[in-house]
């Protein structure tokens, strides 16, 4: 998939589109932008959004450095919810910063 042009470049990224990843299952205190319902869940990189100041730092008045690569990750709904009632081709997509992801 080609990266849309106005997105900031992320040449130093760890993951590429289509790669399988797992969201870390950690529970750090403080302002976090990774919803609990995806922690520990496996998904696939849907696109690379670019490089952004880390909101978990910005929230406390810091400068957000080092910047973090932001990805959109696609999850099967059945991976997220054991009791999901819809078909297997239902998905949820959301943005996860690189430091929350590990290879699956």
């Amino acid at each position: 998939m080609n990266l849309p042009s106005a997105y900031t470049e992320a040449p130093a990224r760890r993951f590429n589109v289509g790669e399988r990843v797992r969201v870390k299952a950690s529970e750090p205190p403080g302002h976090r932008r990774t919803p609990h319902y995806v922690r520990g869940k496996r998904g696939v990189i849907e696109r690379v959004c670019g490089t952004f100041a880390n909101p978990e730092e910005l929230a406390y008045g810091f400068d957000g450095e080092p910047k973090r690569v932001l990805y959109r990750v696609r999850f099967e709904q059945r991976e997220l919810w054991a009791d999901y009632r819809g078909p297997e081709h239902d998905y949820l997509e959301l943005e996860i910063y690189e430091h929350w992801l590990e290879r699956a």
Binding site: Y7, L80, D90, L94, E95
Partner: protein
């Protein structure tokens, strides 16, 4: 505001008591008024200013995408740049446009707060910010869509987009059949705010 369907969101989506934060913000506002620091007129004027700052321009952009396949492709590739080309400055918003097709239905939420493409769609409707919508649309999207009168067939993939970080989202609905030859202005009249969030689909 175009917002017509036959049930009350405010009642069906947030039936519980106000949250701690709602109570705190209301209490602070009342104290500021009581102490003569702000007036209720200033609060109202500020809210009107928000509406003026963020006009509701989504239908014109989407109608243009329906009428011009080249523009639609550019909108899907880079929402912010395509809107700028059309004369709509999204300011800080980075926009991802997601396209409904016969195989895919998209719907948008922000589970962490209420992120919304304000520069394109204006202020979000109350139900979008409700805890009920935010909690349920991610785990039972088909049921919630059905409550909006939108029944998605089993063979169609439902994709929920949780707008939790730096991107904002808009749905590009399918252009209804029977609108061939319509002007962009007439097409824009079919496009409701709810259809750009993905809880309804435009109909003739």
């Amino acid at each position: 505001m175009k917002h017509h369907h036959d049930h009350s969101h405010d009642r069906s989506f947030d039936s519980g008591p106000p949250s701690e934060y709602e109570i705190m913000s209301r209490a602070i506002q009342e104290l500021l008024v009581e102490k003569g620091i702000i007036t209720p007129e200033q609060v109202r004027a500020r809210m009107e200013q928000f509406d003026a700052d963020f006009p509701y321009r989504g239908p014109r952009v989407i109608a243009h995408a329906w009428a011009d396949p080249g523009f639609k492709a550019r909108l899907l590739a880079d929402g912010k740049r395509a809107c700028a080309e059309f004369g709509v400055d999204l300011e800080a918003d980075r926009l991802i446009a997601v396209e409904n097709t016969p195989q895919v239905h998209n719907v948008i939420v922000c589970t962490l707060c209420s992120c919304y493409p304000r520069a394109l769609l204006g202020m979000p409707p109350t139900w979008y910010k409700s805890e009920n919508y935010r909690r349920r649309i991610v785990r039972e999207p088909r049921e919630v869509l059905r409550e909006f009168g939108t029944v998605i067939p089993e063979h169609v993939s439902v994709r929920v987009h949780d707008s939790n970080a730096d991107m904002r989202y808009v749905v590009v609905p399918m252009r209804p059949a029977g609108t061939e030859g319509w002007s962009e202005e007439k097409l824009a009249g079919l496009i409701t705010r709810d259809s750009l969030v993905g809880v309804t689909v435009p109909k003739i």
